[in-house]
Amino acid sequence: MASLVIAEIDPSSSQLQGSSLAAITATSQITSKIGSQENDIHLLIAGYSSDSEAVNKAKEIPQVSKIYVVPPNETSEKLFKYGVAEWLAPCIQQLHEKYKFSHIVAGASTFGKNVMPRVAAGLQVSQVSDVTGVEASDVFIRPIYAGNALSKVKCTDPVKVLTVRSTAFEKAVLKEAQQLPVEELSFTPDTNASKCVSWLSEEVSQSERPDLTSARVVISGGRGLKNAENFKILEALADKLGAAIGASRAAVDAGFCPNEMQVGQTGKAVAPELYIAVGISGAIQHLAGMKDSKVIVAINKDPDAPIFQVADYGLVADLFEAVPEMTKLLDQNAKTAVHS
């Protein structure tokens, strides 16, 4: 039996999202534990034709051995490209009924979270959310209670439907393009739900910075920044470090920055090499999204802030002085490095 990974493609760049590359790594960990000969990984790319850039790029993933595509037509193009669950879920279900996969896997991004429970319910099985560890082909680890506990679950359903936390698995590394079988499916869902939904519009925040969930360095601001204008002092530091900028819920709720920057239990989970928390107290819900970072730095003027309990390096200081100073010192160091 093969496993199926549901590809999430960025509609603006046609690139496979990092969450899908991590899902492929997780799936290869699962299939390596099955121990049978038939442990292939197949990939479903819906909304793109066989000769599209997205499909060509997917051929560079060494773990993948077959690709299914659902070529777009006028009606379905946006519905598939934006992962509309009422279209994608019955499509996955139909593919499963034809090939009987052992596992159906997607990244635990908003795309995966939206569609996979619908797939599971359609197949009358449970779904395991946000898997962070693979113990066996049917035993998985996942965080509960905002990451304050880990749960080891055994899935006894005939097909395991999973979403995986992308920061818990390395992203699959693209190699040279391989010759892969690409099967075209023509699919139009015949469900009431699929007829009742249309995709209207989107608002995408433009940013030159690296993607929050895959950045090597993340600088996050909280309520301590006081207003949206002050968030700019993080930008200068982020520029120096090539960092992405995140935020606590308090900062998002106060309107300092858009919600897709939120790090935490209900926002994004990040695990960069360096996480710098600026003016963030460190509530349980925020820690849930960043405590797997390799090195955590906290800059806060309250020495009792809970963030200091998880920070590898804590600096008790006024962020309005400390952050510009840090930017300046990095600047000077960079100049010295150039001169020497």
Binding site: V153, T266, E273
Partner: protein, 249 residues
């Protein structure tokens, strides 16, 4: 139109839970329990639809232990009209919960079901989507804005890229994100009034729903502890440590 809203009794969001040493679960004895924060947002949205004369009746349903009636009362005090309490002893997975909710929906025939996007205890983020599938209704998950336009619903969703807007024909299922609204506090007179509002008690059997378990929890354990707590004196020292000790910049 009728609106059905669901609430779950969970450990209060501010409580740091303790894992039992025998790995059987988390210790919830003497722990403060509350309505799941996302469910509060769902109730608030339903009540606002009623205040805007879009909804004629708001029904609140909860599936949980006998004490879940407290959370139903809270929803009634916020402005819901009546409650349905499906009493169950054990925590059930979203697959079973959504099957039971389907039976309630078929009985009550609401045009809209509003749920929270996830419960902060199991962090599953599944029930709304599963319910929508079981009903063959469209879904608007992670909603930050909901607008009823005639027989249709415009839902703005919080997605990784930013925001996207879908149009769903009613009946539909919506799950709430944090920024949909700010839930009101129940006032004392409303709390008193809520005591007179009816709550129907049901069992899973009344809904023709059998608990099934495709998932088995083997153990619950503590995540690895971080060795945090070190402080530095100055920005210069911080940079020096990050460069030479941690080697991350």
């Amino acid at each position: 139109m009728k609106v059905l809203v669901t609430v779950k009794r969970v450990v209060d969001y501010a409580v740091k839970v303790r894992v039992k040493p025998d790995g059987s679960g988390v210790d919830l004895s003497n722990t403060k329990m509350s309505m799941n924060p996302f469910c509060e947002i769902a109730v608030e949205e339903a009540v606002r639809l009623k205040e805007a004369k879009v909804a004629s009746e708001v029904i609140v349903a909860s599936i949980g232990p006998s004490q879940s009636s407290e959370q139903i009362r809270t929803a009634l005090a916020m402005g819901a009209d009546r409650g349905i309490h499906v009493e169950v002893e054990k925590e059930l997975p979203p697959l079973v919960i959504s099957r039971a909710l389907k039976s309630i929906v078929l009985k009550e025939k609401p045009s809209l079901v509003i749920l929270g996007k996830q419960a902060i205890d199991d962090d599953c983020n599944q029930t709304g989507q599963m319910l929508a599938q079981f009903l063959d209704w469209p879904q608007g998950t992670f909603a930050s804005k909901v607008k009823v336009v005639g027989e249709k619903l415009q839902v703005t969703r919080e997605v990784d890229r930013g925001l996207e807007t879908l149009e769903l024909r009613l009946p539909a299922v919506v799950t709430c994100d944090l920024r949909l609204n700010e839930p009101r506090y129940a006032t004392l007179p409303n709390i008193m009034k809520a005591k007179k509002k009816p709550i129907e008690k049901l069992g899973l059997k009344d809904l023709n729903c059998e608990p099934s378990y495709g998932l088995q929890t083997l153990s619950i354990f503590e995540p690895p502890k971080r060795q945090g707590g070190n402080k530095v004196e100055s920005v210069a020292e911080l940079i020096e440590k990050l460069r030479n000790e941690a080697k991350v910049i």
